[in-house]
Symmetry: C2
């Protein structure tokens, strides 16, 4: 099922998000406005805004604040993409040249900072301090996680436990901030807030594991970068850990001395891919199970559908 | 007069700020905690926290929130210092190696981001949305100003008007956010908020002009960097603009082709220094005049004293 049909129940909310997203980056200073426009208009699936909106639907929430929360979520995501592309030296993102490939490192850093400040400014207008703090702390988690990676050097993360910790801070933290934030905004009781936070966390984990699988199995043209980019840059992800565990535990540190094209191809065709996919499915199942506290309505079905989609997607 | 004696009326508040500053950067992850500790403990004059506190004193403000605001102000300042040192490639700050000289560009960027997130987290606990938005917008102003500088390239800013615009975004914006934030927190009426914002803005302008003068006139050992660093890096500041206006308007673009040691020395001994000092004094005077709406109490005298200090300081 496509995200469009899964998200049909919140289509009008998502349209409001698109309009507000564009408004939020309309700036006097043209160079900055242009790069943000390229980044925002090149799309992405808006999964994080959708999560914030869906999580706010089980109790009556202020529609304007809900849209604002969704916009802030996407702006934080966009800011982290800008800094990620700089860190990874990625030339292309969603078919467009990255900001970091066009601007100096300095200007790229500042562009990301600007978007974070804009997100904070917009969040303040929601006038909910608990939501505000959820997002500030998520940003701290994301930064600390990336610093740990930077300090860990090549082959980072060093083992499967560290890998899970890293994708938690890198991806799952913002997914769970979106669902927790939406739930808090709607005035949901604590047990439901906890359930939606659990849902967001596990969906984010599944999402990132699948991203890391697709880095091996998708088509270079669809990816917009060479297959196996992470491994080529010396970063080990879940398929690599499974490959090492299943094949050659003794030489884990040495695999990068092999021919990289051959290594990427070997991992791609190994059972490590299926094992990783099973792991993503387990995370998605935990996410779906957390929804049991809610009535079986269109919003719960949409959330559950997202969990299935995230695992089954081919890009 | 020293800042210690000027700030005597708020000494206990400033001590509370020091304690809370240290608490705010106590983190599990040691590498990050250590660099923040070095940055925060190496001091600085805490002028921004002092401004936030003094501006909140004309009406009864919640002491805990006032200290929180002061801490958030200093954290935003610290974050911009981290990014500034990276941008300027400065090896030393206040006698200690900069984070950017010890860490990768990536980790340095993220360390700054982390502090901004921490500042946002702390600010949210003040539970005042107007204050929150003042700071978010200040951060946007700072980022946009630095991006303009980065895009402007060498010799930037190109003229005196651009110079004022730049030091407004770089320095005065956070000074005025501190005074405006303090006033808002205390529930001051709009006219007083405006007066304190004007005070902060003009004090910040005076402060930065004097910083730019000291870059020429102070001792290299006291500065911790070569005399005339800005000019050596191709950045024109107020003394340079006055020097060009007074001496050689035709060759403004060419002065950097001269011998740089000689050029720095010439500017240092020219009347451009006195002209710049007079300009700083004008800004300080406008700041002091804005205080006329307040009763002549110890807090107003402290603010006025700060304006005098900022111009007369030798480092």
């Amino acid at each position: 099922m496509s995200t469009n049909s899964i998200l049909a129940p919140i289509q009008s909310d998502l349209q409001a998000v698109e309009i507000r997203l564009r408004e939020s980056i309309r700036l006097d200073y043209a160079p900055l406005a242009n790069v943000f426009e390229t980044l925002i208009e090149s799309g992405g699936k808006r999964i994080r805004p959708a999560l914030a909106i869906l999580a706010s639907k089980f109790h009556p929430a202020d529609q304007d604040k809900m849209v604002t929360l969704a916009v802030a979520t996407e702006l934080v995501h966009a800011a982290t993409l800008i800094h990620d592309d700089l860190i990874d030296k990625s030339p292309v993102r969603r078919g467009s040249p990255t900001i970091s490939s066009r601007w100096s490192g300095t200007a790229t850093v500042l562009a990301g900072d600007y978007l974070l400040a804009r997100a904070a400014d917009i969040s303040a207008s929601i006038e909910n301090f608990r939501v505000m703090r959820i997002f500030a702390r998520t940003l701290m988690t994301i930064c600390e996680g990336e610093i740990r990676q930077d300090f860990g050097g090549a082959h980072w993360p060093p083992n499967r436990a560290e890998y899970y910790h890293h994708i938690e801070s890198k991806t799952a933290s913002l997914f769970s901030a979106a669902t927790e934030g939406g739930a808090v905004l709607s005035g949901a009781p604590d047990a439901e807030i906890a359930a939606l936070k659990t849902f967001g966390h596990n969906l984010g984990m599944a999402f990132q594991v699948v991203d890391d699988i697709l880095d091996f199995t998708a088509d270079a043209r669809e990816l917009g970068k060479p297959v196996g980019s992470d491994l080529r840059q010396g970063t080990f992800t879940l398929p690599v850990f499974y490959y090492i565990e299943q094949n050659s535990p003794a030489q884990a540190g040495d695999i990068l001395s092999e021919d990289l094209d051959r290594l990427v191809n070997t991992v791609r065709n190994s059972s490590a891919i299926d094992a990783s996919k099973a792991e993503a499915r387990r995370f998605a199942k935990v996410a779906q199970d957390a929804l049991a506290v809610f009535p079986d309505n269109e919003y719960r079905r949409a959330l559950s559908g997202l969990a299935t989609y995230v695992v089954d997607r081919t890009l």
